[in-house]
Amino acid sequence: MSTSLNDAKALISDVSPPAWYRQVPAEPVTRIRPSKSWEHLDFAELWAQREVFYFLMWRDLKVRYKQTIIGAAWVILQPMLITLVFAVFLGGLMRVPSDGVPYPIFAYTALLLWTFVSNAVLSSSYSLVTNAHLITRVYFSRLLIPAATVGVRLVDLVVASLVLVALIVYYDVHLGWRILLFPFFVIEIAALTLALGLLGASLNVRYRDVGTVLPILLQVWMFVSPIVYASTIVPPRLRFVYAINPLAGIIEGARSSLFNLPFRWPSIITSVVITLSMLIFSIHVFLRMENGFADEV
């Protein structure tokens, strides 16, 4: 037995593999398994496919900014027009308190961020359905699709921030050290938006009426957040309830950093905790439902 085995081994080692033979790795490149109830986020895969993310984002941006003037103008006009309306009615006629900051720049700061949230949540919720032809034909981490959509809106946000810079100059706003934290709030709001976008996207694949409900929910959300008014109009004993909405802490924080007002840490910390929990939850839901996307979309 052992001799015949050795003979066989010797025979095999004599035969060198043909020139074209590719070395088969010891470990599989891809393991295909049934879906599990808890899928883990494959960071290595996401990193390997970062170019796909870049392409998805770049394609959307190209379409948007093709006619540069109109594309960029629309991105700026949307928050500006809304600001104008609120500045006239709420700021001008009703004299809504704005933390001692001129109302137009007070509202524009928040509306800029809100426009990002609203557009990004809506478009990432539709992203899987609009990219159905890709999902059913080729494999790459589906997470990249809504993530790229949020990324595109983030670029819009940067473009629309140019108006904010102009307003800062015009109203002669004195920036202080707190402005250093402004990017942090942008990152936080992007994380919150991604969380909701992932949730919306995975639900939208199965229930197409999500698209009907979403705009209404977004509208409600806008008015329960301190966007066109300051959260100081909420009685102090109810502030902790108000802070459950993570957007409240983010918008307030962003405004405090811009206008160098003291931070209200409890609501900021609450918003960070809720945003992170929501992100973890929605990534989980997304990965769980991801396996069915190609069959259902």
Partner: protein
């Protein structure tokens, strides 16, 4: 002994045939329903009620590097489901498969093109999906374009391509980006005679260079011509595997028997 590049064990895929929820008449109901069923989906409870079908069942096989395997079988036998699982488009319900190499796939004419991206950009996108970096793709770029004969349409969005151009470019990308494993579904059936010939040549060349090819086709001539081995899939099962001539013979006999039975 060579190690296999694809190893599949008892793969199975079950599809649910349940009717999709009808559109809820009111917004209130829509909300209620979607919330309700979301909870049910997460707990995985709402599916058992629906009738189901095993599109693929108990499929095990191994494929060696450089081997070309043709998959034959009737429509709805599970051939495409098998390729979709291996291409990771959908997950198996049971079983497992290990792929020991980079996988390129071309499943039907739709390919994986982004309609708004130009031909040039789609080449890079597909390369990125395969996990290649830009310099690797650039190296292969001219060859792909020449093979697909789309030189004049490189900067045209893919949505303006004819289905022939779509197919040619899709095949060219999948075959030239040097995957270790190439999955092709019904590509040869759609291509015209001259491009079919070109495809056959390319598949042979890829196989000589060590790429394993698993292809589904109703073009039995191509299966016979190309494959080292054939799989005969019937009713979701790997009915038989072996020499292409023998299996094609069996398959044609089965088809003939069925045809006369239904007369």
């Amino acid at each position: 002994m060579m190690r296999p590049i694809i190893k599949a064990e008892r793969l199975g895929k079950k599809y649910y045939l349940g009717p999709r929820e009808t559109a809820p008449p009111t917004l209130r109901e829509a909300l209620k329903n979607s919330l309700h069923s979301k909870v049910k989906t997460i707990s995985g409870g709402n599916r058992s009620r629906h009738p189901s079908v095993w599109a693929l069942q108990d499929v095990s096989f191994e494929i060696q590097p450089g081997e070309v395997v043709g998959v034959i079988g009737r429509n709805g036998a599970g051939k495409s489901t098998l390729l979709r699982i291996l291409a990771r488009i959908t997950k198996p319900t049971v079983g497992k498969a290990d792929l020991y190499g980079r996988t390129g796939s071309l499943l039907g004419v739709g390919t994986g093109f982004h309609p708004d991206l130009t031909g040039r950009e789609n080449i890079y996108l597909n390369g990125a999906i395969l996990g290649m970096n830009r310099s690797e793709i650039t190296r292969k770029f001219d060859e792909i374009v020449a093979f697909a004969q789309v030189e004049n349409f490189l900067d045209t969005p893919a949505k303006r391509y004819s289905s022939g151009m779509y197919l040619r470019l899709g095949f060219a990308i999948a075959a030239h980006l040097e995957p270790d494993i190439l999955l092709l579904d019904e590509v040869l059936t759609i291509a015209d005679a001259s491009f079919q010939k070109k495809c056959l040549g390319k598949i042979k060349q890829a196989s000589r260079e060590g790429t394993s090819v698993l292809f589904v086709s109703h073009n039995l001539g191509a299966v016979q011509d190309l494959s080292d081995r054939a799989f005969y899939v019937h009713s979701g099962r790997l009915h038989a595997e072996g020499k292409p001539d023998t299996l094609i013979g069996n398959y044609l006999k089965d088809v003939a028997v069925q045809a006369s039975a239904s007369d």
